[in-house]
Symmetry: C2
Subunit: 320 residues, 2 copies
Amino acid sequence: MRRSMVAARLAAALVCLSATAYAADAAQPASPGPAAPKAAIKTGPVAADVLAASSPADWRSPDPENLLYMDLAQGRVIIELAPAFAPAHVDNIRKLVREGWFDGLAVDRVQDNYVTQWGDADNTRTPKTAQTKLAPEFVVRGAAVAKLPFTPLPDRDTYAPEAGYSDSFPAARDAKGQQAWLIHCYGMVGVGRDMALDSGSGAELYAVIGQAPRHLDRNITVVGRVLRGMDILSSLPRGTAALGFYDKPEQRIPIAKVRLAADLPADQREKLMVLRTDTPTWAAYVEARRNRREDFFPAPAGHVDVCNIPLPIRMADASK
Amino acid sequence: MRRSMVAARLAAALVCLSATAYAADAAQPASPGPAAPKAAIKTGPVAADVLAASSPADWRSPDPENLLYMDLAQGRVIIELAPAFAPAHVDNIRKLVREGWFDGLAVDRVQDNYVTQWGDADNTRTPKTAQTKLAPEFVVRGAAVAKLPFTPLPDRDTYAPEAGYSDSFPAARDAKGQQAWLIHCYGMVGVGRDMALDSGSGAELYAVIGQAPRHLDRNITVVGRVLRGMDILSSLPRGTAALGFYDKPEQRIPIAKVRLAADLPADQREKLMVLRTDTPTWAAYVEARRNRREDFFPAPAGHVDVCNIPLPIRMADASK
């Protein structure tokens, strides 16, 4: 059956009357946060100043084993994978990439204000080294949670008890620190699946191209984030079939190839740096997004949502 | 000076050290909402069922005096204006449309995960009947607030004390009912301005094409919502100059014309219907979005954000 991330066309015929076998987590209570945000602070640096004043130690260079370069005719999309949250899926994606799975496949779905999705639309391929399905990694549980780096965002979140950042990935935790998961902010990349919870493998991936679909958190394996190329993925023509699939195969957007940065010679790797999310610079940057002090804003919000902080990326300066 | 909605290029050079003359509203406290959302309810209809079971009385036909048809080569964009929230700006926009202001202008800015913006990029025109600047209508105040229809969304909001819907527009109110404003959800349309708070007039407009930039709420006049055509506005090529402006004039997307539906013969008006937001059907629809019961979701969120509810639109069935 053709994979679809949200099988709404089936769903309309179903009414869920019984609990699923999967341990259904109760809806997460909202994070407590401050009872009322402090009045917006009008003095202090703007975000651009914070970044300009940052030092090299404030930035990190992603591990080349976690960087995908997806080349389309329109340009390159770079994705950083998050093995800490989805180790089996990330490992499987590396296998898929290394066996050339994605080469010659295509973007087959662009649903406005939702996702751009790519994979083997016509089910023509069988993986040689990779798995075809994996146990879901929707949520990190147990002892592994404490090992995840996590910088809370003090601002209240309404979908999760605690929201924040883990190695620059937007993430959430429950109140007791027993569960953690990645958040579906703009640009995050997840694993397409069918109704069966283990039907995802990484062979089909999607990126969020609109308002963060937070209802997908904890329901899908999230594997990473687009560092570059959202301008491409978000501007593709929307599919006119149901769920934004392209009606005709000739409308799909071909993928020339996908490579891991680690498999390229060092001089062919893009020298991307990502702002760390565990430093005083990061805290100052968040503050400057929470309270916009640029003269444009007579009424700074005094609050910022976990998906409303642009995650800075820059090219390394070879002269430094 | 060329209008820009967020004058970040100036802002980087400025540090705001003094309060602005405009009455700076304090940051709004988050809405209280339920202390912890009820456990997700697994029984009940899915959203598609609620809409299928709706009656004609659940839908409204927008006033043709509030409907703009913006025709691009790529197709038609339909915008519903919200005069209850921005009466002077909406009135001015009608004047601009009726004097042909927008005809032959262009989309000159597409900033990824932010806005698509259109207007008189080169300042070549002077309005004949419309104003060139207007007092800001960022917030409705005083006695007018009580006259606004408003259906609260019981779910907690973190940017406003109360969020909900007013005649199908996402809107917010303060705790005392003294202020109300439109929310910058995906597809909402606002008035481009410069630093000066009264520099907007409706001659330059933008639509939100990504994650709701809630920090703009109460800082810009919001005038309406795109009912059709976000697939066009969101898929335009991103501008490569600062703030997403197109670098070269030839990259701009021409606007053939903009017309008010009221000025067209009845048989040329699009028979759009918008789901009302003040009915039991609406409440059931919201519930079905808060708790996604489709079998796909093992972990329904039990919460929904004001910008995460798709606002249903359909064509009227002439046979009904």
